[in-house]
């Protein structure tokens, strides 16, 4: 069916196998293809702009779609004509950020984009410099220019209170602009990318192909292992490397340990946001066992450093296996007990029920992933749709809730933790013997690879083009938060200001993966205080 759509629109199929379709679509047909794919239930995963002057004729963009029904990813390549490509944002809302990113980083113009503004680069970055172009040195630091003042609606009754970028609720720099009326939010905007560290450029210039797993791990300090896994899978896909069975099981084990630690961390943070400190302490006490477990298995609490292309670096012996078993069993009982009791606390439930609702239709349009999507009734999980590591041979359920509020996202994650315990038990039971790494491989030149994993926050997509001499030509990781953040305005509007932190928290935002809240009082004729009010918070960071 997908092939039919592609063929109908003069697409040239470059590669087609059971998990990936790579095609090239003419410039003018792009919008049509995107529209038809979207209506054929393929949702938008990400878009990657590439400076292809080193390998072919110029600049191109790769739009990546995920077809859950057929279990395939569809990569659509389009060359830019005079640096211009028609925008698909009017057709698919989810492409908005990806196109703006390509605008910033590569300098491709998108015809018909509704808001062609800068997304990633800082305000003081000079115009016309695009860091991901091949002629831009990775370590060049251009002098700052005076930022263009953003055009703001001047309303004497409008009061802006930025929450962030350093807001104690999230421990990460991020920035939302909330326009409030009394305590009710009427409009919400996001601005951010404080954590842009230039890692894609770093990967294609200074690093070699086997160093990048360690860079990928540092995309995010919470879900780093799934990033390095996705990267290795992308290379393994591009170079057709067979990974030993045992390595796949070890990866699965660590991925699940990471999911448990991440979800428990998140529960603690949500309880903290709701003012329930003891809940934070309880969940983090359980989590500590998993941190120690990771330390025993990998040598570090958080950055596991286990992945290399072709396998993993450390094996798991019997004594370690027993330790994992013991901790999992104890923690399982602990988690269930604490959650059953917490869910009986009325004031916590009141703060989560019917708060921050994300309806299924909007969720699909934006292309949200992971527990955020599953809380809104979308049954999506990379582990089932595109099995990787050892998930194809394991048995587990994917919890889906329909209400789409904060509570449903909490419940989805809670059930996922229980499923993860079950997966770990299976992995340890079935752990095969044999090699843990396959080092016999040759990396072809300019091969395209795609790796996807289900991170604790949702789908991770890594897109990769290889190059000779153990280098990568282009590597683009897409973290789940990148897809989930645009859904926040929908959740925030109409809610109370006091609920904003927990709503923002409920998608488990990971701004380093992908960043500030302004509150603007829009109620007319009510000036609560006088003076230039934004300055107060701004003085220490707005």
């Amino acid at each position: 069916m997908i092939l039919d759509i592609l063929r109908k629109n003069d697409a040239e199929v470059i590669r087609h196998d059971e998990r990936l379709i790579i095609t090239s679509v003419p410039n003018e047909k792009l919008e049509e293809v995107a529209k038809e794919l979207f209506s054929a239930n393929c949702y938008y995963a990400t878009g990657v702009g590439v400076d292809e002057r080193g390998m072919s004729q110029g600049f191109a963009i790769y739009h990546i779609f995920n077809s859950e029904n057929e279990g395939k990813y569809i990569v659509i390549k389009t060359f830019a004509r005079n640096l211009t490509i028609p925008s698909i944002t009017p057709v698919i809302e989810g492409a908005n950020w990806a196109e703006r990113e390509a605008m910033d980083m590569i300098g491709i113009k998108f015809d018909g984009h509704p808001e062609p503004e800068r997304l990633i680069l800082p305000d003081d970055w000079p115009e016309g410099l695009h860091p991901l172009r091949k002629d831009f040195p990775y370590n060049k630091r251009p002098p700052s220019i005076k930022p263009k003042s953003r055009v703001k609606k001047k309303d004497p009754n409008t009061i802006e209170v930025p929450v962030g970028p350093y807001h104690p609720a999230l421990h990460e720099p991020e920035s939302f602009e909330l326009y409030i009326k009394g305590e009710e939010i009427v409009e919400a905007k996001y601005k951010g990318f404080h954590v842009h560290r230039g890692m894609e450029k770093l990967a294609e210039s200074r690093m070699t192909i086997n160093q990048i797993p360690f860079l990928a791990e540092r995309i995010c300090g919470i879900c780093g292992f799934t990033h390095s896994c996705a990267y290795c899978q992308a290379v393994e896909d591009a170079a057709k490397i067979d990974v030993p069975e045992r390595a796949l099981y070890i990866r699965t084990l660590l991925l699940e340990i990471e999911r448990i630690h991440s979800h428990l961390l998140w529960f603690g943070v949500v309880f903290h946001l709701l003012g329930f400190e003891s809940g934070f302490m309880h969940t983090w006490r359980i989590r500590e066992d998993f941190m120690n477990l990771a330390e025993i298995l990998t040598g570090n609490r958080k950055t596991y450093g286990m992945n290399l292309i072709g396998g993993v670096r450390r094996a798991i012996d019997e004594s370690k296996k027993r330790k994992v078993m013991r901790i999992v069993e104890g923690s399982k009982r602990d988690t269930v007990e604490i959650f059953d009791n917490v869910m009986g606390m009325r004031e916590l439930l009141n703060r989560m029920e019917n708060v921050g609702v994300l309806p299924k239709k909007e969720a699909r349009g934006i292309g949200v992933v992971g527990p955020t999507a599953r809380g809104s009734g979308i049954d999506t999980d990379v582990r089932i749709d595109h099995p990787y590591a050892a998930y194809g041979e394991l048995e587990f359920k994917v919890p889906v809730y329909k209400t789409g509020d904060v509570l449903s996202r909490v419940l989805v994650r809670y059930e996922e933790v229980l499923e993860s315990f079950w997966i770990i038990e299976q992995v340890l039971d079935q752990l095969p013997q044999g090699d843990i790494i396959n080092e016999n491989y040759k990396i072809p030149e300019f091969a395209i690879g795609l790796g996807a994993t289900e991170a604790p926050r949702g789908e991770d997509v890594h897109f990769l083009i290889t190059e000779r001499e153990n280098k990568v030509y282009r590597w683009h990781p897409r973290a789940p938060t990148y897809n989930n953040l645009p859904a926040l305005p929908i959740m925030l509007v109409g809610e109370k200001l006091a609920d904003a932190p927990v709503i923002i928290g409920s998608i488990d935002p990971c701004f380093s993966c992908t960043d500030h809240v302004s509150i603007i009082d829009a109620e007319r004729g009510k000036i609560l205080w006088k003076g230039p009010l934004n300055e107060g918070v701004r003085t220490w960071g707005g």
């Binding site: 800082p122 350093y166 104690p168 954590v195 842009h196 540092r218 300090g221 500590e288």
Partner: protein, 193 residues
């Protein structure tokens, strides 16, 4: 002044979250630094110390400067993690400043601010205990273990050459081939041809 009570403002200057969660982790029951009177505060005005995690990205630089200015003197700066100490894995990319040392340079040149007392806590991320050790070090409760180490090979060139030549000539004289001959390096291949 901070022996009994230290309030910390945590500032993520572009970290990957690894250090952030370890900073949060020291408040969890296992490590519980509240027992030393350490508290995380939400406003830099209340803080005695400011904890940087991350290599200080270009976007967060002005905010980091503002936050640092808002902390009353005397203050302490905790550079937590390798990124804050020296830039970490991204020390020289276009988007980051590259650790507190470079940050101090900018502070000095552009804002004319003297750098505060700094504690460097490397690690990727540092274990929670390593952070506790760092704070204890600031209070002089523990001894510093990490020292700069310089090793300079003492043998002079002639002596080395002598040793080497004896080694070679002996091998030559006996005409004995050493077992396990593996030619590994490029130089070896060249000399083979």
């Amino acid at each position: 002044m901070f022996e009994k009570s230290l309030w910390v403002f945590h500032l993520n200057s572009g970290s990957c979250n690894g250090c952030d969660i370890e900073v949060l982790n020291i408040f969890a029951p296992r490590q519980d630094v509240e027992r030393f009177g350490i508290k995380l505060v939400g406003s830099p005005r209340h803080a005695d110390a400011i904890a940087f995690t991350g290599p200080i990205t270009r976007e967060s630089l002005p905010k980091a400067v503002e936050a640092l200015k808002a902390v009353p003197e005397p203050k302490l700066l905790l550079a937590i993690g390798s990124c804050a100490c020296g830039g970490g894995i991204w020390y020289d990319t276009y988007a980051v400043i590259g650790g507190v040392k470079e940050f101090y340079k900018i502070l000095k040149e552009e804002y004319n601010i003297e750098p505060p007392t700094t504690i460097y806590i490397p690690g990727c991320p540092p274990k929670p205990e390593a952070i506790i050790y760092g704070v204890a070090l600031a209070r002089k409760a523990v001894k510093q273990k990490q020292k700069k180490e310089i090793y300079i090979e003492e043998l002079n060139e002639d002596m080395r050459r002598e040793i080497a030549e004896i080694l070679f000539s002996e091998a030559k004289g006996t005409r004995h081939f050493l077992p396990n001959i593996v030619v590994k390096t490029k130089e070896g291949e060249e000399s083979e041809s």
